[in-house]
Symmetry: C2
Subunit: 230 residues, 2 copies
């Protein structure tokens, strides 16, 4: 099988020295990659410069991206050539549009003007006591995957923070249906720490529970192989 894995967290530049970064070490994506390689699959890993990476392997290709736009372009090219997509990357929901001093925002008669501006300077001034950053929603990449390749088997992730099991599973099920995924790994940041990683792997008719990154990778591979032999 040809498996495409995304891993790490995207960053969106505010200027040349500052970015908004989504936290993700890439540890889980690394472990899933290693499991897939051990099972004999070929893996393309789309990740970031800062994420941890697997050791080199003859069946592993690593491509580095930084922001959501680069990720979208890379995935549009790669998704059609793969059988399975494991989309574990933490993708930035918003990207910076314009940063400006609060006084200038106060003085504006039409705040929408700022949504059409962009900063010309390479390093935004730090003179103002308060600043205002306008951000625009990024495209939801996961919702485009089936347009690019209707046959790809999609495994998505849903990370929430401090919610109930019911809310977590309901949000995961909504994502499963909306994105035509066959599995969503649902986890809560408050249940992830060194060595521990609690997650539910939610399929159309199944829910399994994992308590470590190792278990998540094992259950996911088991799921993929079942689907492959059927």
């Amino acid at each position: 099988m040809n498996i495409l894995i995304t891993s790490g967290g995207t960053s969106e530049k505010i200027d040349q020295v500052r970015s908004i970064t989504n936290h993700s070490t890439g540890q889980l994506g690394k472990m899933i990659t290693e499991h897939c390689l051990a099972e004999g699959s070929s893996v393309t890993l789309l990740t970031t410069a800062k994420a941890v990476k697997p050791d080199p392997h003859q069946n592993l290709t690593i491509k580095i991206i930084e922001d959501t736009e680069q990720l979208l372009t890379a995935m549009e090219g790669l998704v059609p050539a793969h059988d399975v997509l494991i989309h574990s990357m933490a993708v930035s929901d918003y990207k910076p549009v314009y940063m400006v001093g609060f006084e200038e925002v106060l003085a504006s008669s039409d705040l929408a003007e700022f949504l059409g501006k962009s900063n010309a300077e390479s390093k935004i001034s730090s003179a103002d006591d308060y600043q205002v950053l306008f951000l625009k929603k990024n495209p939801k990449i996961i919702s485009k995957v089936k347009e690019w390749n209707p046959n790809i088997r999609l495994i998505g992730f849903k990370l929430l923070v401090g919610v109930s099991k019911e809310e977590l599973l309901a949000t995961a099920r909504a994502s499963l249906e909306k994105n035509q995924a066959e599995l969503i790994v649902a986890n809560d940041l408050t249940e992830i720490s060194n060595g521990q990683h609690h997650a539910y792997l939610l399929g159309a008719d199944t829910v399994t529970e994992a308590f470590s990154k190792e278990e998540i990778a094992e259950q996911m591979l088991s799921h993929i192989q079942k689907g492959d032999s059927s």
Copy 2:
């Protein structure tokens, strides 16, 4: 000599999964630390989890911080116990106060209300097409150093992007005088790349020029030793 070195870049949390990060690998701080240790000094290195770090050494203590507030608290405690401060960390100018949908900002009759709010949710909603992030200026730590220890020898850094040599040196001189530093390392991001790092080391009566991180570290140590023997 007891030398305090700051290195890497601070991050300021927007919520539990997103931060604004100042880019800095920590490579230069690592090299300066190694040079100081080789000369027989004791070093306290204040840095971040993501920055590259020197190998363990009996005269090296490493302390990890994440944001500007933690850096300030750590430095207030450490500055009085050191002879020299080499402040190479990229410190966040602003910290997030409140993030809200653009429509809610449009509907507000008093934008100042948002400066007093804070997000209760752990992961801010991504429903709005546009969002607005209000940020507050952080205290300028370098300006407090001499209050904490009037006798400490202060070496600061000034990073600009795409400016002339004249503007770079003038900005560095202003920082030298304002912060009572004895040396400012002035550099331009457009002149820093793999293996190359152009910088001016500006003192009260001297300017030397370096073309690599190695040369910056050597010239800085040479400067510190001259001052120490006089």
